[in-house]
Structure formats: C-alpha cells, structure tokens
C-alpha cells in the first residue's frame, strides 16, 4: 500500500529574501557615498549589486511547482524500512531545499536523487520507525529559491499517516496447559482422543481399529493392546494488559514491552489455531472477545495500538481502572488469562483477585526492567528501597494466591518460562 497522493501543482508565492534588501542597501549606500564624496571609482563597488539586481527581475520567477510524495508501505512493524519518494519539478528555480518533518522515534536516511525526463527530480529517503503507534510522516517543507537567491517561496507537501505495529515478542512455539476444554485444536491435552501424540496403551476392545494395535506390547503380554493418542484441543488465551503507567525509556518502556508481549503471544497462539482475546485496564476499559483466525491478529494489533492513553484520557483523570465491568463472554470458561503488567501499584493485584473470584488462575508477566535512578546516600535511595520491598511484597502476595510471576525483559524467548509457569499453576485453582 502506498500513500501520499498523486502529483499536485502548487502555486509559488515568492517573497523577497534579506539578500535582495541587502544588495539594494549596499548599492544605495555606495551610490550615495560616490555622489557625496565625488569619487567616481566608488561606483565600481555599486556596479556589483546593481548588475545582480537587474539580472534577476521579479518577472523571471517561476509561477508553479509540481510535487508528489509516495510512501510505501503504510503499515509496518517496528524496525521495518519504509521508502519515501518525492518528485519535484520547478522550472527556473536556483535550488529547492527539502526539509522532511519526521514523527518521534523515526530515523530518516537520505538515499540520493535522480533527475528524470521532463525536468522532474525524484528524491528518496529511507525511514525506519522504531516505536509502535500511528504516526504522521511529513510534511516535506520545500523552500524554492529563485532570482539569484533574492526570492524564496515555501511549499508544504503532505505525505501520509503510517501504522507501526509493535514488534512481536519471541515465542518459539505456543505452549498450553494440559487441561484444555475447547475441541478441535492443535495442543495435545490429557484427554485421550484422535490426535497424533502418543498417550499410552490399553487392552484391545471390539471396535478398535486394527492399525492402532501395538504389536510389540501385544507380543510381550500375549494379548492385544492398542495405542492411545492425546486429544488435540484448542486453547483460549485472554491477555489482560495493564496500561496504567508507562515507565522507562521510550522504545523499551513498560508499555512498549507490554504491547510487544501481547503481540507475540497473539501471533503465536493464533498460528496454532487458538482463540485469543484482549482486555486492558489502567485507562478506559477496552476488550476484544476471544476469536481465532488471521483477522483476529489485526484486531488485537489495532486494539493494542490504542492502549497508549491520549491527552484527553490523561486529562479526564477519573477513568475506570478495574476489570469489574468486563463482560462474561469476554472470559470463556477455562480460558487461560495472562496479565501483562509492570507491577507498579496494587491494581494488578486487584485485577488478579477479581479474576480468581471469577474462577480463573491467571499468569502474570512482569515487564518492568528499570528502576528509578537516584543519588547515593539520599532520602530518595531510601524511597527506592521501600519501593523494591513493596514490589517484592506484591510478588509474594501473587505467589500466595497461586499466581506465577514471569519476569520478561523484552529480549528472551517466552516459551520455556511460559510453559513452566503454566504447568506450575496448581490444578485446584484452575477453573
């Protein structure tokens, strides 16, 4: 998908630059000096600016400029490369200076220019957005200089809005607990069924398929045994994102890690034909009911993009922080709930308690990777120590509720830790 629109003809409204006034000033001063002092040789000094002024009349300035900007693609993932091409055609201009206005956390590299037929010059930049969100690229501010530098006109070329999806967290495979309810999935469960993963053997009963007979076991025991396979079930994953605060450096802040973890989990589990839902708390309560299929990935990504509170939401202040109003269809029975939070206050604990009351055994992914930097031996250092203790107490409290806390720094693979955490949830606390 390309954005930026077609070629447009922009009228040029030239204004005099300071150079024009200065040339006139030097010429006038010199002529006046020559007249007052009656020194003819000083007119040589006046001849220079005078010739330049006469050689570049206002009538010789161009009237219009033809410009077009193309940006591709308009949707990308953090770190992807976009190409911006700008076509400029101005006849009679001395030079055209282009200043590209970029959104925050986006780097541009000038990639050269090509002169095409018909006097059009195509300039190319390579853009790399490094932070997720919806960003506006441009405008490209053009300064058309003509008349020997005596006149300049400004033209703004709108480019396009881009959608930068968060980079997905690394997840080697979609792991799942053993107790799964939904049928027709790809995760082997404890139940015996018609999957492909070996689950054990049992004595042959009439009606069993001949191809299921385990001949080696049958020969050892002198009677027929058949192989059993684990049933393959689907998995309902509900991601609960804590967007109350955003701590840390832009690009690796808690909110950045939260959305990357959510995107990575969604991508992996949807690929395994599971259903994924999403709920956020910390700003206005938002949710997305669990669903499967590739479209759900885009729905989740779009929902995740909206978690960063905008100025209106920040100004509103009194917003619903909890999950109390979450509809029941949002949390299907036996769904696995994963709470992604920086654990910076008690709200995640309240959320986990609420989920436990509804019969769910959530897993908490802790995405806080930074600590406040304070001077040594100051009162603030004491405050930081108290804050650390508070976080430890929060983690212990979650542990006492049977909720595993999985720290994630945004770099490592979540699979192993996720599997360990899922298996460590006590069966009696599962729904």
């Amino acid at each position: 998908m390309t954005g930026g629109g077609g070629a447009r003809v922009e009228p040029l409204g030239f204004t005099a630059t300071p150079l024009l006034r200065r040339l006139a000033m030097v010429a006038a001063l010199t002529v006046a000096g020559a007249v007052v002092t009656a020194h003819g040789e000083l007119l040589a000094l006046a001849a220079l600016p005078l010739v330049l002024l006469v050689a570049h009349p206002r009538s010789g300035l161009p009237d219009t400029a033809t410009v077009a900007a193309r940006l591709s693609p308009l949707r990308c993932v953090e770190g992807d490369e976009l190409v911006l091409e700008l076509d400029v055609q101005v006849g009679g201009a001395d030079r055209v200076e282009a200043d590209l206005v970029l959104p925050a956390h986006t780097e541009a590299t000038y990639d050269g220019q090509v002169a095409c037929d018909g006097g059009t010059t195509t300039v190319r930049w390579r853009l790399v957005p490094s932070r997720w969100g919806r960003h506006r690229v441009g405008p490209v501010r053009l300064r058309v200089v003509a008349g020997g530098g005596c006149y300049a006109a400004r033209v703004g070329v709108e480019v396009a809005d881009i959608v930068v999806y968060p980079g997905a967290a690394a997840l080697a495979r979609a792991v799942a607990p053993r107790e799964l309810a939904a049928p027709l999935g790809e995760h082997p469960s404890r139940a015996v069924g018609s999957g492909v993963e070996f689950a054990g053997v049992r004595p042959y009963t009439p009606g069993d398929r001949r191809r299921d007979v385990d001949w080696r076991t049958s020969a050892r025991h002198g009677e027929l045994f058949v192989r059993q396979y684990a049933a393959e079930r689907a998995f309902d994953l509900v991601l609960v994102l804590d967007t109350t605060t955003d701590a840390g450096e832009p690009g690796s802040s808690t909110l950045d890690l939260t959305v990357r973890a959510a995107t990575g989990l969604t991508q992996s589990y949807l690929r395994a034909h599971d259903r994924v839902g999403l709920a956020t708390f910390g700003g206005p309560l938002r949710w997305l009911a669990p669903a499967a299929g590739p479209r759900q990935l885009y729905r989740v990504c779009e929902a995740v993009m909206a978690v960063r509170p905008d100025e209106e939401e920040r100004a509103a202040g009194a917003v619903e922080y909890g999950l109390a109003n979450l509809p029941h269809r949002m949390l299907p029975p036996r769904a696995f709930v994963c709470v992604v939070t920086p654990l910076l206050d008690d709200r995640p604990l309240d959320a986990v308690r609420l989920l436990r009351e509804r019969g769910f055994a959530p897993l908490v992914v802790d995405v806080l990777t930074t600590e406040p930097v304070v001077p040594r031996r100051s009162a603030a250092e004491l405050a930081v120590r108290a804050w650390r203790l508070q976080r430890e107490a929060l983690t212990l409290e979650l542990g006492s509720l049977g909720v595993p806390v999985l720290p994630w720094d945004g770099e490592g693979d979540l699979t192993g830790a996720l599997l360990h955490a899922m298996r460590s949830v006590r069966p009696e606390v599962r729904a």
């Binding site: 150079l19 200065r22 010429a27 002092t37 040589a44 600016p49 005078l50 200043d99 005596c150």
Partner: protein, 169 residues
C-alpha cells in the same frame, strides 16, 4: 558532508568574507576612522555568524561598505581599482554566505534541484566584469570634467532606480 558541518562552513565564510573585504579595503595605509569601522565590521560579522541574527547580518554588510567608502574617501590615492572590485566581490560573497547562514534550518535539509553552473555563475561574472570596467574607467588619468562626472553619477542613480523597479511586484 553533514548538515552541521555545512552550517559551520557558512558561518566561517561570513567571518572570512567580511574580514577579507575590510583588509583589502584598508591596506596598505589605514587611517584611524577606517580602522574603527573595520573593527566594528569584524565584530558585527562575528556576531552575525554566531547568532544568525538578521539585524547583525545587515549591520555587517553596512559596516563593511562604510569601511570601503571611508578608505576611498579619506585617501583616494591609496585605494586602487582592483582593491575596490576585490572588496566588492568579497562583500557580495559575505552577503551570500549570510543568506545561507541565516536560512539554515536546525535540521539538515536536502538540496533537491540546482540549476547549472553556467546559469548560476553568469550574473556574478557579468557583475564583476561591469565593476572592473567602471573601476578601470574611473582610474583613467584624464582631465576631470564636470559633465563627465555628472553623467557617471546620473547613470549610477538610474541603474539603482531601474534595479529597484524590476523587483516591484
């Protein structure tokens, strides 16, 4: 070359251009008022390059012009035609560098379209030729004639008027 380096180069050119113009004008035997004007011009040039204030830039050009005028007015025999032309060229170079220096954005810009060297250098070369012709003519050892002087001055004023009129919108 990075945008920051180019911006620094334009600033250096402002100071060097102004310094060159006043040095060419005041040598070899500067009078005290000329030295004062030259010093003021240099100070204004440094201020203009450092601060990018348009007022300082305009003051720089005015003071450099005043220095050349003073040098010629106080001791006409000390200022040769080539000095006047050289000072004029350096003065215009300073004006051009000031324009680039003041227009320089905080972010680096890309120059997209640039006219050919012939189109860009034609008018300045013509201006230097015309200035040289005027300087050489003025330096001719002829008997001063009131009519000739008046004709020259009228021609200069007329050129000034025409130069300004072609830039009225």
């Amino acid at each position: 070359m990075s945008g920051r380096t180019i911006a620094v180069l334009w600033r250096v050119l402002v100071v060097l251009g102004a310094a060159g113009a006043v040095v060419v004008a005041v040598l070899p035997d500067p009078a005290r008022p000329v030295l004062v004007a030259a010093g003021a011009a240099l100070a204004a040039a440094v201020l203009a390059a450092a601060s990018r204030w348009r007022l300082a830039g305009t003051a720089t050009l005015g003071l450099v012009t005043l220095t050349v005028l003073l040098a010629a007015a106080l001791d006409a025999s000390a200022v040769r035609p080539v000095q006047v032309v050289a000072a004029g060229v350096l003065l215009l170079a300073t004006a051009g560098a000031l324009e680039r220096c003041e227009a320089g954005a905080d972010r680096p810009t890309v120059t997209v379209v640039r006219t050919g060297a012939t189109a860009r250098l034609g008018p300045p070369v013509l201006a230097v030729g015309a200035a040289s012709l005027v300087a050489v003519t003025a330096a001719q050892d002829v008997v001063p004639s009131v009519g000739l002087v008046l004709a020259g001055l009228v021609a200069a004023v007329a050129a000034l008027v025409v130069g300004i009129r072609v830039h009225r919108g």
